[in-house]
């Protein structure tokens, strides 16, 4: 229903690499990769300045750690031929991933494109554990999570697994990326516990312009995320692109209006959040619904997430940057509304939804949502609990108070150098071999 059937039909007709498709997918891959640095700014602006570098590094580090894990193993588990639950290991260590056609684009490019999705999905989770999780265990967590949670769910929906067979519509990753990350974030926040200052003092965003910059760059990158999920430069890509253009506009307007009527002010953080929620919600629907439906979907998507965020901040649940309310609830809304608005008139490879007389599609969508919620929750819980047996997940209260930038990274985001003393390197001038100046005694 989603990517692979489309691929297979294309494969029958044209087994060769199509230059136009390849060109668009090259651009799309770069666009989606940019979303992770964009997320770093979005999240980085929302935290206190003493944790801003740590928060941004949580996203940037995913570019390295998850990317490598993806290439070495997770890609194969998600997309190599396997059973209904998990892919095989035939493409592990990138074996058999060459320049031959996968659909109409080179196989290596397909692997890279899908890798950018794995990276941003893992990075999304970080928003729930910022300002308190130790950096090392976080890296281990996202590596394990990519292999044991992301890869199987990606296989279920896109790699020929059981949800794909049942006809769940997920154009660009509402289930695989957003519900998956949102639920995992919720569980991670519960396992980690609240920040020591949470509910005791105001924890405010330290740089709202960063938040807006991140939201803008996320939107830009999302054209590759949704438009590229057509895996070709065709009509479908045009539709998904346009829906990605329209839906967040509606969410932005509704969100700001909600803000205005509730508090009397249109906030910038609210506007940025609204854009991201709109993007999340349109993701599963992008290539299946009409542009008018996309506007309606975007407008509707604002409500559940908006009130989820308002409600969450009054609870003892410290999902610090509202990853669950944003991506979990937003993804869920989008996935269900896909079952409402989907139309074969716009995508023959898709299906009709409730409004086109196929109420069953909503139930099918609910099945996809429910199964990924359960799997993500259990998977994340087990990984974090097992990790907790061998290491400490949380930073010490002292280090939380001092800020994770200094304690985890030995850097500060905004330092003026006052009171700092330059430590001269132990070796001599550049070029001179160190041992020539400081002879080392031979240890026996």
């Amino acid at each position: 229903m989603t990517r692979l059937p489309l691929l297979l039909t294309l494969q029958d007709a044209a087994p060769a690499v199509v230059p136009a498709d390849t060109a668009w997918m090259l651009v799309s891959t770069a666009l989606v990769l940019l979303m992770t640095p964009a997320l770093a700014f979005f999240y980085g602006g929302l935290v206190r300045s003493k944790n801003s570098l740590n928060t941004m590094m949580m996203s940037f580090a995913a570019l390295g750690v998850v990317g490598i894990v993806w290439a070495l193993l997770a890609y194969s588990l998600a997309f190599a031929e396997g059973n209904a639950w998990i892919g095989g290991v035939t493409n592990a260590l990138l074996a058999g991933v060459g320049t031959e056609a996968k659909g109409t684009i080179p196989h290596v490019l397909f692997m890279a494109y899908q890798g950018t999705f794995a990276i941003i999905t893992a990075a999304l989770i970080s928003g729930a554990v910022v300002e308190r999780m130790r950096f090392g265990p976080y890296l281990a967590f996202i590596a394990l999570w990519t292999v044991f949670v992301y890869a199987p769910v990606a296989h279920w929906v896109w790699g020929g697994g059981w949800l794909m067979t049942r006809g769940v519509l997920d154009f660009a990753g509402g289930t695989v990326v957003h519900i998956n990350a949102g639920v995992s974030a919720l569980v991670a926040a519960l396992v980690l516990g609240v920040r020591k200052d949470y509910g005791r003092q105001a924890i405010l965003p330290h740089n709202v312009p960063f938040v807006l910059l991140g939201a803008g760059l996320l939107w830009f990158g999302w054209f590759g995320f949704n438009g590229g999920s057509a895996l070709a430069a065709n009509e479908l890509a045009g539709l998904a692109f346009t829906n990605t253009f329209l839906a967040p506009m509606a969410t932005l307007v509704v969100w700001v209006l909600l803000d205005y009527f509730r508090t009397g002010r249109a906030t910038a953080v609210g506007g940025a959040t609204g854009i991201v929620i709109g993007l999340v919600a349109i993701t599963p629907a992008a290539g299946f619904i009409s542009p008018t439906s996309a506007l309606v979907l975007g407008a509707l998507a604002a409500f559940p997430s908006y009130f989820a965020i308002v409600f969450r901040s009054r609870t003892k649940l410290d999902d610090s940057l509202d990853v669950f309310a944003g991506h979990g609830i937003g993804g869920l809304t989008g996935a269900l509304l896909t079952g409402v608005f989907a139309s074969k008139a716009w995508n023959a490879a898709g299906n009709d939804g409730l409004l086109a007389g196929n109420a069953g599609q909503v139930a099918t969508q609910a099945l996809g949502v429910a199964s990924s919620i359960v799997y993500a929750a259990v998977g994340t819980f087990v990984i974090l609990k097992l990790m907790g047996l061998v290491t400490v997940l949380r930073a010490a209260p002292r280090s939380e108070g001092l800020g994770l930038d200094v304690t985890q990274h030995g850097e500060e985001a905004y330092t003026n150098g006052e009171g700092s003393i330059l430590v001269m390197p132990e070796a001599g001038p550049v070029g001179a071999p160190a041992h020539a100046l400081t002879p080392q005694p031979v240890a026996r």
């Binding site: 850097e411 500060e412 003393i421 390197p425």
Partner: protein, 120 residues
């Protein structure tokens, strides 16, 4: 009356303010300062440049109090600001010659809040 000057860790400020509020000490001035109290130097690295942060960020509280409140205030700060590690800061209690409240022109004991210790 006395002027109490306390240098504390920035991350204990919230606890100290809570403790002072509970002790009914109102009226204080807070400023961000840099200082060094003998704690281990923090080392930071930016590309090839390694620096020792000799001066740490601290917060300075200045509180003018009437005589009955000196001990209460000092105790509140001591218990709330302590982490037990080097660098927790200091509390200084200074004599004050005169205090004037600008709004009313009241002076000395009358100008620092509160004036009487309410036994509870």
């Amino acid at each position: 009356m006395k002027l109490i000057v306390a240098i504390i860790r920035p991350d204990r400020l919230n606890e100290v303010l809570e403790a002072l509020y509970r002790a009914e000490v109102t009226g204080l001035t807070v400023s961000r300062v840099l200082g060094h109290g003998g704690e281990t130097d923090r080392v930071e690295t930016y590309r090839g440049t390694t620096v020792k942060m000799e001066l740490q960020e601290k917060v300075r509280l200045e509180i003018g109090v009437s005589e009955p409140f000196v001990d209460v205030t000092v105790r509140a700060i001591l218990t709330s600001a302590r982490t037990g590690e080097v660098g927790d800061g200091k509390v200084f209690v200074l004599d004050v010659n005169q205090v004037h409240r600008i709004r009313t022109g009241e002076r000395d004991e009358l100008a620092v809040t509160p004036t009487e210790l309410v036994e509870s």
